[in-house]
């Protein structure tokens, strides 16, 4: 990763240099962490003490405050990856591939959480952990795509080279995800599963919406913090690797 760092650039070019990126963004890390913590405190308070039980689901409705934000993030993160992929391919921005790589495991995690909480939720409401309901299914497929990308990252031994290739695949995936969602919905309406709780069925009173939104921001900020942290570690990892290589060859000289 080499770029001619001409002095006095725009912020864009400044963060283009990995080292500078780290120094510039590290100050952001702590405030963001604190903010996230606060949001979670507020959200959890609302969720547990300040929102009514659901008339038919009882307390299990509270799972929703975790489930929905995760479900949303599972798609949001892929959006982040798509933008990063564009950044890698079009603008060849050096930090773009770092961000792309850092986002993948997070996306997988949030998607898995959405599935998990959903499954937990499904047990009391549907009497089964897994139902081939459209939205759940497309989330599952999304998880597979995330895992595929992670596997891809692990498989390349030259990360710089990997970035552009994986960017291509990420974009292909981005084009396909809507198609997949659509097809899966078509499919699940084709053979309607027995008794699916239509998630958006009961209209939600404000008392449910407020905590939902707070949690929603809490999780989004959580992602931002983790993403930033992961990018920093990735930059460090690459530095170490090049140093090791240099050392390995230095011996021979």
């Amino acid at each position: 990763m080499t770029m001619e760092t001409t002095p006095k650039q725009s912020w864009w070019n400044r963060i283009a240099h990995p080292g500078q990126f780290v120094t510039w963004t590290r100050p952001l890390l702590w405030p963001l962490t604190v903010l996230t913590a606060l949001l979670f405190l507020a959200g959890l308070y609302f969720a547990f003490f300040n929102s009514p039980e659901d008339y038919q689901m009882g307390d299990t409705v509270r799972i929703m405050y975790v489930h929905v934000p995760n479900a949303w993030l599972s798609q949001f993160v892929y959006g982040v990856m798509t933008v990063s992929a564009l950044g890698t391919l079009v603008w060849r921005h050096p930090m773009a591939d770092v961000s792309m790589k850092a986002a993948a495991p997070l996306g997988a995690m949030f998607t898995a959480l959405a599935l998990f909480t959903g499954a937990l939720w499904g047990r009391p409401t549907w009497g089964t952990f897994w139902e081939w309901d459209g939205r759940m299914t497309s989330t599952l497929v999304l998880l597979f795509i995330y895992l595929g990308i992670i596997v891809l990252w692990r498989a390349f031994d030259d990360q710089l080279r990997a970035a552009r290739v994986i960017a291509v695949f990420t974009l292909v995936g981005a084009i396909n995800i809507p198609i997949i969602k659509f097809s899966v919905d078509w499919w699940s309406t084709l053979h309607q599963p027995a008794s699916v709780f239509r998630a958006d069925g009961p209209r939600m009173p404000g008392s449910i919406l407020t905590p939902l939104f707070v949690m929603f921001f809490a999780f989004t900020f959580l992602f931002l913090v983790l993403h930033l942290k992961a990018m920093h570690t990735e930059v460090k990892r690459r530095r170490v690797m090049t140093l090791q290589r240099k050392a390995a060859q230095g011996v021979g000289a």
Binding site: M1, T2, E4, D158, L160, T242, R245, K246, Q249, G252, A253
Partner: protein, 210 residues
């Protein structure tokens, strides 16, 4: 039989080009230029970065720093032949089929297939499965690829590898003719190539093995 000066005058110029593998520099900053009718010999111990440099010029590996450019050739048409360690010869295709394919794909601006085969001394084996060829014969077939379509710049990676004495002369003859036609060549080699006119040759020695 080959027309003289078929290529427009051209110059390959690198400035501050640093190539390397896996993010590590192998060469120091190279600022060289090769013009029509010149052949640059890359010498240097094993692992000194000859192949890497050639691949960089071929656009396969991104340079670590600096840049290179070809002046005088028009952008749109492909302007180089790369002949690497691996011969890109397909078993299960006959010798002629192999060559015909590359001739068609690279734009058959050069000699006809049969002539090229005769030139490299494979005339008799045209219909043999290329997988049966001996090491040197395979190399000769790879060289024939340079003849069936004219490109101004040749990047040769150890062109004489596995070739017999007569084959060494063949390579010198081919390069010489290519230079006559106004082409340029960059050849990485261990055993010395000497053109009839030494003035046409320059030698670039790459650093000792890192």
């Amino acid at each position: 039989m080959t027309p003289r000066q078929v290529f427009p005058p051209l110059t390959v110029r690198t400035d501050g080009l640093v190539c390397g593998r896996g993010g590590m520099a192998l060469t120091q900053e190279l600022t060289v230029s090769v013009t029509s009718g010149q052949c640059l010999l890359l010498r240097g111990p094993n692992g000194s970065g000859k192949t890497t440099l050639l691949l960089t010029l071929a656009g396969v590996i991104a340079p670590l720093a600096g840049s290179f450019a070809l002046e005088g050739a028009d952008r749109e048409e492909r302007w180089l032949h790369y002949c690497g360690h691996r011969n890109a010869i397909k078993p299960r295709l006959s010798v002629i089929e192999n060559l015909d394919f590359w001739r068609a794909v690279n734009g058959g601006t050069g000699e006809p297939t049969a002539a090229a085969l005769a030139e490299v001394g494979l005339a008799a084996l045209g219909s043999l499965d290329a997988g049966y060829l001996s090491a040197g014969q395979t190399r000769r077939l790879a060289l024939a690829r340079l003849l069936v379509s004219y490109r101004p710049l040749w990047l040769l990676d150890e062109p004489t590898a596995a070739l017999d004495v007569e084959g060494h002369e063949l390579v010198t003859r081919l390069i010489d003719r290519h230079l006559d036609m106004g082409g340029a060549a960059i050849a990485a080699t261990h055993d010395p190539i000497t053109l009839p006119d030494p003035g046409r040759m320059e030698t670039l020695v790459l650093g000792a093995r890192a």
